[in-house]
């Protein structure tokens, strides 16, 4: 291949005319221009110093609550003085390089990235001497047992990670259970069917999220509360009863057209909240999966696969909405053991 290439180089249609003659800059030939550039650059550095002093003044003088043209005055002034000073310094240094520092182009020769054959031979010789002296090649027993112990070193490394978290136990249970009230997620007040008008959607939670124990402490709080919320949050909607087409076995899961669904998207778990009254569609704001709440939470568009799990509703003696049971389907995004967990839930019911 290299012979071929040499021929090609000879066949260059235009010969290299070599580096063009050096062109002098105005600052190289005109002392007035040179002086001007010097003044400009000095001016930039001086102004930068003033701005940095301004930064310190602003830091102590400006009140945190003051605003300037809608911006926080503190943020704006600190940023403008610091940014302005840095920009002036940077531009000044670059101008210095461009206008006043020597601008004769230099030529440096390249060398192949590879080492020379001599260097390679010498290094190889050293390497061989080292290996031979170690007896690495001659003592397979030691070598192999070393490799064995090295590979076993992976075991503690992996096993040490075991306590990063508990073994997965699936997501088939939530805090919902028979008789638990469905409460409004703003104030925690229970919901009566008469509170809901046709077309209305209410964000709700299980009553336990607002319960307090006998010491007045919340039953669920902190991390535990967030974990349960990320599974148990629901939405309650009221549609015209005749618009709803319940699946077999779900005919009595609603009260006068009031249905309750999981709020957690079955795609990657965002809370779904965009409700289209006219079409009964519920849209997830994260990835736009769309569920038809009049048709058992069926997926009508988007990347979600499973329908929204529905929570069977009933009324308690005081006429408030309660759950009949936990969700009969797994809530939230899918996971490898989902099929197994769902089967267990089906077997239970």
């Amino acid at each position: 291949m290299s012979d071929e290439l040499d021929q090609l180089t000879d066949a260059e249609p235009v010969k290299d005319p070599g580096l063009p003659a050096h062109q002098h800059r105005p600052t190289d030939v005109d002392p007035a221009q040179e002086l001007r550039a010097e003044r400009q650059i000095t001016g930039m550095f001086t102004l930068a110093s003033l701005l940095l002093i301004g930064f310190c003044v602003a830091y102590v003088a400006i009140d945190k609550d003051q605003t300037f043209l809608g911006w926080s005055a503190m943020n704006f002034t600190l940023g403008a003085t610091l940014g302005g000073a840095l920009l002036l310094m940077g531009v000044g240094i670059i101008q210095w390089a461009k206008k006043l520092m020597g601008d004769d182009e230099m030529v440096e020769l390249r060398h192949p990235a590879a080492s020379t054959a001599e260097d390679r031979a010498a290094t190889l010789e050293d390497l061989n001497a080292g290996i031979n002296e170690s007896g690495f090649g001659r003592r397979p027993l030691i070598r192999r047992s070393l490799f064995l112990s090295m590979s076993f070193l992976a075991l503690p490394t992996v096993i040490m990670l075991r306590d990063m978290g508990p073994l997965p136990y699936g997501h088939k249970n939530t805090v919902w259970k028979k008789g638990m009230r469905v409460v409004n997620d703003v104030a925690g007040t229970p919901i009566k069917p008469s509170d809901l008008q046709v077309g209305q959607l209410v964000n709700a939670e299980p009553a336990i999220m607002y319960e307090k124990d006998k010491d007045g402490e919340a039953v669920l709080h902190g991390t535990e509360l967030l974990q349960e919320k990320s599974k148990a949050a629901v939405i309650v909607v009221r549609m015209k009863p005749e618009a709803i087409t319940p699946a077999k076995g779900r005919e009595n899961w609603g009260i006068d057209g009031i249905l309750c669904y999981s709020k957690i998207c079955t795609h990657v778990g965002c809370p779904i909240s965009l409700w289209e009254q006219q079409t009964h569609h519920l849209l997830c704001p994260c990835h736009q999966s769309t569920f038809d709440l009049a048709d058992n939470g069926k997926v009508v568009f988007g990347p979600a696969h499973r329908p929204l799990p529905q929570l069977p509703l009933a009324l308690d003696s005081e006429g408030y909405l309660i759950a009949v049971s936990d969700f009969p389907e797994v809530v939230g995004p899918s996971y490898p053991e989902l099929a197994r967990d769902q089967k267990r839930l089906d077997d239970k019911s």
Partner: protein, 570 residues
């Protein structure tokens, strides 16, 4: 001017005399002078072109990130433990939230300059990834990854991946509603990983989502693990850059065997050093006037709340788009659930982008069979297949990006969300093919235009009237320097079918592979226009220098006329 006459040696200056002792002390122990002399480090030559500055933006924004990030760690508390907010931002007073969110509010409202540094940090992060991507495109479009720079290309890919993860980890730390929503997506992504998904989820989150360890863990990743890896890789990237010496554009006097430019000391030290201040100053001004991630407006994370129009930072937009436009495939077999709807767009697709990028230099080398070192950059038009391929990949990325903003586009332009999603689903496969073909044609057209300018000269703007009344525009040869620049690239190889049999008449070994390679080479070079031959240029010179038909000679200084008819000269 006249630096030579004023030349002073540093050892004769007052400063030099004072510093000689300590510097000698250091050199006695470190031998710096020898190392510097051997590598010519102080006067190392760097070639000049605006596009060589893109990687510098990435480097300096990383330094800005280190500085501002260190400042933020003085106050940020990476804890998910519950606290009640009681600070300057009154709308959230009395609310239960994590220490992470509360301390981020403190940085924004109670630490003077805290909001500024937070905003600089976030803007610099967005700039860091953007500069890396544009730098990578520059390297790819000009073939700068070719031998001997393949390893540095791979290091660059590693930097890119780490940069994306680093950005995402940082985005998750404040524990506001938006960052928690991002983590919820990560939880869904982990669960979608076949078979081991649940284990990864429980181990990484320390139990069920959201748990109380993910923020402390991500904090460690964000301020220690990934920055350390980034620093190490950036160091290796720079060392290789110095060892290989920077690539340069071809032109008069600039060859594969030299590098022409300015020395590191003083010119590049000043330009690059000054540029750090420019990048820092620019991000500081952005932090002053452009609000970014106003976490106080989102509220603390609550898994049952989300805001409409939730968007990740821009560099995650393509993954977001892929997840949005993916069909809802999910299957069950071997008693396991396989969430293709999440796993393919969020794990396989980004892996594919990076994998193709990492493999590209090696695939190209296999196709072209070119094992030589390359230090002259290739103009994108002279590698039409490569250029078209990159544009196709950019198109796919752009379609995914549109997908990632489908809700915003739908509401701002009153379009159907479903229509945009379907446009992206189809466009992801169709548009890259279209842009590939268009780009390739444009490249070939530009190659032809180059050949034309060599063979027919440039249009002078001088209109001549012939004795029979016709008007023609006079052409003149390009200056030799320009002619050389236009032809200073490899000639196309002669494509040959691989031999079916060896010299003994036996079927040649590896003939299937050889055929595949010959086919690939044919596709790679298809349509490319070769540069003119020596004879072509010779004929053209004779033709252009022929003054018989022209009454006036143009002269050596002539460079065409301006639009107002005034001749242009040097």
């Amino acid at each position: 001017m006249s630096t030579v006459d004023e030349h002073t040696n540093i050892e004769d200056t007052a400063f030099g005399k004072k510093a000689a002792g300590p510097v000698g002390w250091l050199d006695d122990r470190l031998g710096l002078a020898g190392a510097s002399k051997r590598s010519h480090l102080l006067r190392k030559v760097f070639p000049e072109h605006w596009s060589f500055m893109l990687g510098e933006i990435a480097l300096w924004s990383f330094v800005v990130l280190l500085l501002t990030g260190t400042f933020l760690t003085f106050w940020f508390q990476p804890s998910m433990a519950e606290t009640t907010y009681n600070g300057s931002y009154t709308p959230l007073n009395g609310l239960e939230m994590s220490h992470a969110y509360a301390s981020t509010l403190d940085i924004s409202f109670d630490v003077r300059g805290g909001l500024l540094i937070r905003q600089i940090h976030h803007w610099a992060a967005a700039l860091f990834v953007a500069a890396m991507i544009v730098h990578m495109l520059r390297v790819m479009f000009t073939g700068a990854y070719r031998k001997p720079r393949e390893i540095n290309w791979l290091i660059g890919i590693g930097l890119m991946v780490l940069g994306l993860v680093e950005g995402f980890a940082g985005y998750s730390l404040p524990d506001d509603l938006l960052s928690g929503t991002g983590l919820r997506f990560v939880d869904g992504l982990l669960r979608s990983i076949p078979i081991v998904g649940s284990y990864l989820e429980y181990f990484i989150f320390g139990g069920e989502f959201p748990g109380d360890v993910i923020i402390p863990r991500l904090y460690m990743v964000h301020i220690l693990l990934i920055p350390a890896l980034l620093l190490a890789l950036i160091g290796a990237h720079m060392i290789l850059l110095v060892y290989h010496k920077h690539t340069q554009w071809g032109g008069p006097g600039r060859t594969e065997k030299n590098v022409v430019g300015y020395p590191m000391l003083p010119v590049y030290a000043a330009k690059a050093g000054g540029f750090f201040f420019v990048v820092f100053g620019f991000t500081a001004l952005m932090g002053a006037v452009l609000q970014i991630n106003p976490i106080w407006a989102y509220g603390p994370y609550n898994p049952s709340e989300v805001t409409a129009g939730s968007q990740p930072d821009w560099y995650m937009g393509f993954v977001e788009g892929a997840v949005r436009i993916m069909p809802n495939w999910e299957s069950t077999f071997f008693n396991y659930t396989w969430s293709w709807n999440v796993f393919i767009p969020a794990a396989i697709l980004p892996g594919l982008f990076l994998g193709v990028g990492a493999a590209w230099p090696f695939v190209e080398q296999w196709i072209t069979g070119d094992k030589r070192e390359h230090h002259l950059l290739e103009r994108p038009r002279n590698a039409p297949f490569r250029t078209a391929f990159i544009v196709a990949a950019m198109t796919a990325y752009g379609v995914l990006w549109i997908g990632g903003g489908n809700d915003i586009i739908a509401t701002k332009f009153h379009l159907s969300l479903n229509a945009i999603t379907w446009f992206c689903r189809i466009g992801l496969f169709v548009l890259p093919v279209v842009t590939f073909m268009i780009t390739k044609r444009i490249c070939i057209g530009l190659q032809r235009a180059d050949a034309n300018r060599i063979l027919h000269g440039y249009e002078t703007g001088v209109i001549e009237r012939s004795p029979d009344g016709g008007f023609t525009e006079r052409h003149a040869p390009l200056p030799v320097g320009s002619q050389y620049s236009l032809t200073n690239h490899d000639r196309l190889p002669v494509l040959e079918a691989p031999p079916e049999t060896d010299h003994n008449g036996v079927a040649a070994p590896h003939s299937r592979m050889a055929k595949l390679r010959a086919k690939a080479r044919e596709i790679y070079y298809d349509g490319s226009v070769d540069k003119p031959t020596v004879e072509d240029v010779h004929h053209a010179e004779e033709h252009l220098r022929d003054h018989d038909g022209h009454p006036v000679e143009l002269g050596d200084e002539f460079q065409g006329v301006s639009e107002t008819g005034v001749p242009r000269v040097h």
